[in-house]
């Protein structure tokens, strides 16, 4: 093509070949060559004719193609509406799958806990109703929001969602709705129940004082000597409740002493919890040490996560404990389920239910202790998991579950997943953000649970975070697959790479010792990549740049014989 640009005719005159002519009229030649041709066609009628013919051919082609000889088929005209309906169907499926996932999570994780709590004496109520409607952390629902109010709220929210969806971006609308809904939930209790807050170095509710509201107390030293007709939230160093609390006590303290009477529950996160008074309902607590002294009484159950428990008083129902050391010298009217290092049952102990104990050492039981049955003791085995056969079976089952989970997610959110996978290679940003999200979200969820923001928001956030940990491994797996098998922007090839990658990632995570750290690293890395993709998704999509004017398809701008810029 390039060597015989000029073809000689019978008279020996060199003419332009068609290829050069085409490239010339399409402005694809270098400037010098274009100038040579321009000069040549000034004097050569045959070449001028060729260029004119090629140019006319271009125009004829464009005209023929641009002409609308047939209307848009009806099938296409209706397509968008159908597609929209099909998208609604996809959303229905997505929500169905999500509901199934929630149900699976509930049956796998929550229900066993619920059973445990039932056994521990929270009796007759499931976990959700215990937490929400009995007002352990979420205050006052049972007396405030009726079913009718909830339905009304949801209906209004639904209408608002439909209204906003038509007017603002979908993401923004959902964000507004969620924020509004949370705010509604958060504000309603506040307006329905006026609460009082006291904050000082030393906070005291005097002996002759009666507070007829919920009470938030913050200070170095807090003392409640009077009566509180509501819940008490305490955040302090030394806290003592000597008077009467008709609601619950929710406490965060170094030392919490309950010397008076609590008509509701005690939920505590403390270093030392000492109960000398009476708790009419249940105690749920995370501490270093719990002392139930001889004159102390818990009418309901005791659920504890502690280092040591000294029980000299009375527990009305069951005990569920994760404690290193337990000393029982008091009275327990229900059963005991315990897991720890050591269990000591003293001579004055009286237990009216069965005792199940899993521990490192056999229980030390005084022969004078009054027990309805001997302690059912199981020694805790500390054999590494990977020494057991069923560990590998479970690994295979988990791997299959991962692949299934990945298939669903990659199909439901193909573009987001591709973005997340692409972000895996932003190593620094992914790891940095991953660490922040890995630790930050659970903390935020716990804060949401124990403040007025709400239990619903807290638990939902926690579940999303938990699911994201698995998603993170899939995202990193997909990246590993791409490293091995090459890049792909299509969904199914990406899924194939994800499967290969997740097999390798899972293999790496089951390695003894290093596996745990690899798993942690993968989760942090993937979580960061997902967060980056999420961040990018919520960035404004228009940066304020004016749109370029539309240029309709036009035939190449050619001028036979004129100067052709390269």
């Amino acid at each position: 093509m390039t060597e015989d640009d000029h073809l000689p005719d019978e008279a020996g005159t060199e003419h332009l070949d068609e290829m050069s002519g085409l490239l010339y009229i399409e402005r694809q030649l270098e400037r010098v060559r274009a100038q040579e041709i321009s000069a040549h066609v000034q004097d050569c009628a045959a070449c001028r004719t060729l260029l004119r013919a090629l140019e006319r051919e271009s125009r004829l082609l464009t005209r023929a193609m641009l002409e609308e000889e047939e209307a848009l088929p009806a099938r296409l005209a209706q397509f968008h509406e159908r597609a929209r309906r099909s998208m609604q169907w996809i959303w229905t499926v997505a929500f169905g799958l999500a509901a199934t996932g929630v149900y699976a999570l509930y049956t796998t994780y929550i229900e066993p806990w619920q059973d445990q709590l039932d056994k521990a004496g929270f009796g007759g109520s499931n976990l959700l109703s215990l937490l929400i409607f009995q007002g352990a952390l979420w205050k006052g629902w049972q007396s405030m929001i009726t079913l009718l109010e909830v339905l009304a709220l949801l209906t209004v929210a639904g209408f608002a969602l439909i209204f906003f969806r038509r007017r603002v971006r979908r993401g923004s609308a959902l964000a507004i709705m969620l924020a509004g809904f949370c705010a509604a939930l958060g504000l309603q209790p506040a307006s329905a129940f006026a609460s009082e807050m006291r904050k000082a170095d030393s906070v005291v509710v005097e002996r002759d004082e009666t507070v007829k509201t919920d009470l938030f107390l913050m200070g170095e030293h807090i003392r409640v000597d009077g009566t509180v007709d509501g819940d008490v939230y305490v955040f302090g160093h030394d806290v003592s409740v000597n008077g009467r609390v008709k609601g619950d006590i929710i406490g965060f303290a170094q030392q919490l002493q309950v010397n008076g009477q609590v008509d509701g529950n005690v939920r505590a996160f403390t270093n030392t919890l000492t109960i000398r008074g009476t708790v009419a309902r249940n105690v749920l607590t995370f501490d270093q040490t719990v002392n139930l002294e001889s004159n102390g009484k818990i009418a309901g159950s005791l659920t504890i996560f502690v280092e040591s428990l000294n029980l000299d008083g009375e527990v009305g129902r069951d005990i569920l404990s994760m404690a290193k050391h337990i000393n029982i010298n008091g009275k327990v009217n229900g059963a005991i389920q315990s897991r720890g290092e050591a269990l000591t049952i003293g001579s004055s102990a009286e237990v009216h239910g069965p005792i199940q104990y899993k521990g490192d050492k056999p229980p030390d039981v005084s022969p004078r202790a009054k027990l309805v049955s001997p302690v059912d003791y199981q020694k805790l085995e500390h054999k590494p998991h990977y020494m057991e056969g069923h560990y590998y079976v479970w690994q295979v089952i988990w791997l299959a579950a991962f692949v299934l989970f990945g298939l669903v997610l990659f199909q439901l959110m193909p573009q987001f997943t591709k973005d997340a996978v692409a972000n895996v290679e932003r190593y620094g940003a992914s790891f940095g953000l991953g660490v922040l999200v890995f630790f930050g979200i659970p903390i935020a969820a716990i804060i949401a649970c124990v403040t007025v923001v709400g239990l619903f928001v807290g638990i939902s956030t926690f579940f999303i975070w938990y699911a994201a940990l698995y998603y993170a491994q899939l995202v990193v797996g997909a990246m590993v697959g791409e490293w091995l098998m090459g890049r792909s922007n299509e969904t199914w090839p990406l899924i194939g790479r994800m499967i290969v990658g997740i097999v390798l990632v899972r293999l790496a995570t089951v390695l003894p010792i290093a596996g745990g750290w690899i798993k942690f690293g993968v989760m942090v890395w993937g979580l960061g990549a997902i967060s980056l993709a999420l961040y990018n998704r919520f960035q404004p999509s228009i940066a304020g740049t004016p749109s370029a004017p539309y240029t309709p398809p036009m035939p190449p701008n050619t001028t036979v014989g004129g100067m052709q810029p390269a």
Partner: protein
């Protein structure tokens, strides 16, 4: 694609990127006719073109591929590029199955038409005849002509879509024109003349 001089619906594009179904509706109404015409020219049958148009929009919506669109460039040009890739993929898959069109671009020699006869041929032919002839040429040739003369794609974009070296885009286009002329029924007369 839309009326000449009309600005592209940047606001609708922005909303569609966030998944707004109404914005997608606007874009579809605006661009579907032109996109259908593109596919109609590029693919052998009307049904193929309808399927392709729907597939392109469905993929754009489902995968939210608008996120890949650089807003500083022409939206219609980007959309044509997506359509070209889709149509060429369709044709290539079909071609693989049917095992046709195995020409080697670099080795097949080009014939040179007589300028006067070519000029005469072009003058005599109508748009309708060209469209009819277009449906008879090979898929690569048709694809190249549509990309260049319908959607005004650059040689680089055509090379990218067809998977050929940029230097051979001109050859592809010229060969496509020859095929078209043959389909227009004048191959013998044109080819016999040469440029000499």
């Amino acid at each position: 694609m839309s009326a000449p001089g009309k600005t592209e619906p940047a606001e609708a594009i922005a909303r569609a990127r966030t998944g707004d179904a109404d914005a997608w509706g606007e874009l579809y109404r605006e661009y579907a006719p032109a996109l259908f015409r593109f596919c109609r020219r590029a693919l052998p049958t009307k049904e193929d073109a309808e399927d392709a148009t729907m597939d392109i929009f469905a993929k754009l919506m489902r995968d939210n591929r608008l996120l890949q669109y650089d807003q500083n460039r022409s939206f219609s040009a980007w959309l044509y590029k997506v359509a070209a890739n889709h149509c060429w993929d369709t044709l290539r898959r079909r071609k693989t199955r049917q095992d046709k069109e195995t020409e080697d671009l670099e080795n097949v020699p080009l014939e040179h038409p007589d300028p006067n006869q070519l000029d005469k041929l072009i003058e005599q032919r109508t748009s309708e005849e060209v469209r009819h002839a277009l449906s008879k040429v090979g898929s690569r040739a048709r694809m190249a002509l549509v990309m260049r003369y319908y959607s005004d794609m650059s040689y680089d974009e055509i090379a990218d879509a067809l998977g050929v070296r940029r230097a051979f885009v001109g050859v592809v286009l010229l060969r496509a024109r020859h095929e078209l002329r043959n389909a227009l029924g004048q191959s013998g007369a044109l080819a016999a003349g040469g440029t000499s």
